[in-house]
Amino acid sequence: MTDSPFRAEMADVPRRVSPRVLLIHPLRMLPSLLLPFGGLLLASGFSPTSVAVAALGVALSVAVAVVRWATFTYRVSGDRLELTRALVSRSVRTIPLERVRGVDITARPLHRLLGLAVLKIDTGAGGDSQEGELDALPLREAEELRGVLLARRAMAVSATQPVEAPAEGQPPHGAVPAGTSAGGTSAGGGVAQGAPRGVAPDGGRVIARVPRSWLRYGPLSGAYLLTPFALIAGAVGVVYQWVGEVRVTAETAASTLEWARDHMILLVAAGVLLVLAMPVAGGITYAVFNWDFTVRSRDGYLVAERGLLTRRVVSLERRRIRGYELVDGLLERAAGVVRAWAVVTGLGDSETRGQLLPVTPREWAVGVVSEAIEPFDAPLRPHPPQARRRRLFRAVAPWLVVAAAALALGWAVVAVAALALAVAGIALGLDRYRSLGHAYDGMRVSVRQGSLRRRQAVVERRAIVGWRLRQTVFQRMSGVLTVIAGVGAGSGGYHAIDTGESQGVEFAAEVTPDWLRLFLASPRP
């Protein structure tokens, strides 16, 4: 990235976030104020006192927003970012730039209207309280600041250690809160985020841009299927807040029940409508969140950008990417599409932040992750036939037990349903077995499992911090065991389920011969 006067100006001078947030904060508080004050006004009539109280409340919330804005400053000083909150006490949060693992720029609709964005700094520390948040910066400033944060990070790293991770002995904490209190964490800022259209067009090579027509694959993932129910639940919650005063008595309950009995057909129809609405609403929600999904490569970072209303930009540090996961459910596999996540060390909220690709055709997705991260094309080795027997048993037997119990108790309907599920379990078990596999291509390890949600992980060998081999009694009787590669990223452990006993041990020994050499029963020559 090129230098800009903006950046020079940014250094070492304490700066405030944009005053335009003053428009946002009270607006965002409005809904929560509306109900109590509305209730107050309704309950006590429009007496001068109640109106005055309501007005005071609004004024107070504005005043709080102003004070927050006026007392919060940030500055980049040397190799640190300092977030200072000085109201009564003074708290300074210092984030060394070398600890910055990623920068997340988010723009919610209100912020976008005002040309603002929220910048979040991921330091790899656990918990939100350890992360930095600037709410809100003008979009251009957010992008500049990200450039500064990430560029200095890259420089600091290359100056000290060319390839490997940061200096030894660093605790797994990222930010170092200095000063008096933790008040400076999110107390002030923690509200909105925003940045308008096209947040990160500044340079960077586009690795992938997902065409809008592919948004149609969204519903296949089963994501957001519960949207209609969530909406209803939200509406019910609001209604409850409004009518919180209404006492629920036995009488009202009885009358409600009676009404429900009289309008059974109506209720059933509503239920059916809701269920029918699931894929539609889910698809729309999916499209809103994954609109124009773009993956870029820039300055040692992978930058994923997405969203229609809320535009979200996540930067993942390449040095910390240890591999990727490909996930496809049953429907997705039938359609030949797949989702992809990056496996990143020390990434908080990795389910949303780590996402590399939404639902996209498999071949294309594999091409993208191969380019963005690294290719892996070693064939997966199948697991022994005992594994198939165990998958089948586990998918079928529980339902047979349920069916038998139901028969013993004389519940015919349950028994039939359980039997049907047992039959379906045959297909499921066979498919689970087909999914199983593991491989090693000399650099990376891959394991795959699952049927309803199949996932294949590809992880670098050097990311493995240990092995765990597990064998239950039943596995022992079948002569199989589960090999778990411990990885300090992603889900922490990647399982190769039900490998043969020698197969599993040899797999671990093949990947990290030095670690197992001394412990094999028949040491290799």
């Binding site: 493995i464 911090v465 240990g466 081999l469 022992r476 411990g486 990885v487 452990g493 030095d514 197992l516």
Partner: protein
């Protein structure tokens, strides 16, 4: 065919048998209490969905629990003592644990982040200790129970020292 791995070199302390026995007894007491409670409540409620032959013999539930679990209470500590072993060779910690199920854990010292030595109540009474070896991943972490306190202290010390020398942050 068994997993082609040799036994780790060291057994845990013999006193660990006593520790596991006490723990098993406590677990058994809770289970028995629950079984008795369920039988009592079912008996009082007179739940009609149960077939008659079952309803009349509710006392069978605690008896069955006792018959099945009591031998295990004796067996578990002995089996654990046979299975639990550990070793540090070639800068790799190799530990085996379990009783009915088994686990083998391999943790290279270079990837260790913290080494903890912990003692519970019973462990203190028996002067035993547990060494917890943590890496960046829970799946690559290891817990070695039932070590003699002196042995655990020396082992933790040795691990911490070697980890310092070998530290490698490629998590």
């Amino acid at each position: 065919m068994r997993a082609p791995l040799r036994d780790p070199a060291h057994r845990v302390s013999r006193r660990a048998i006593a520790l596991w026995f006490v723990e098993a007894i406590i677990g058994f007491a809770f289970l028995m209490g629950a079984a008795l409670l369920i039988a009592y409540l079912l008996d009082r409620s007179g739940w009609s969905a149960l077939p008659g032959w079952m309803g009349d013999r509710l006392w069978l539930l605690p008896v069955a629990v006792g018959v099945v679990m009591l031998p295990l209470v004796v067996l578990e500590p002995l089996l654990r003592y046979a299975v639990h072993r550990w070793e540090l060779s070639g800068d790799v910690v190799y530990a085996r644990s379990g009783w009915l199920s088994r686990q083998w854990v391999f943790v290279p010292v270079s990837r260790i982040q913290t080494v903890d030595k912990a003692q519970g109540w019973f462990e203190r009474a028996l002067s035993l200790a547990t060494v917890e070896i943590r890496t960046a991943s829970h799946a690559g972490s290891s817990t070695i129970q039932g070590l003699d306190y002196e042995v655990a202290a020396a082992f933790a010390e040795e691990l911490a020292r070697r980890a310092q020398e070998l530290r490698d942050d490629a998590t």
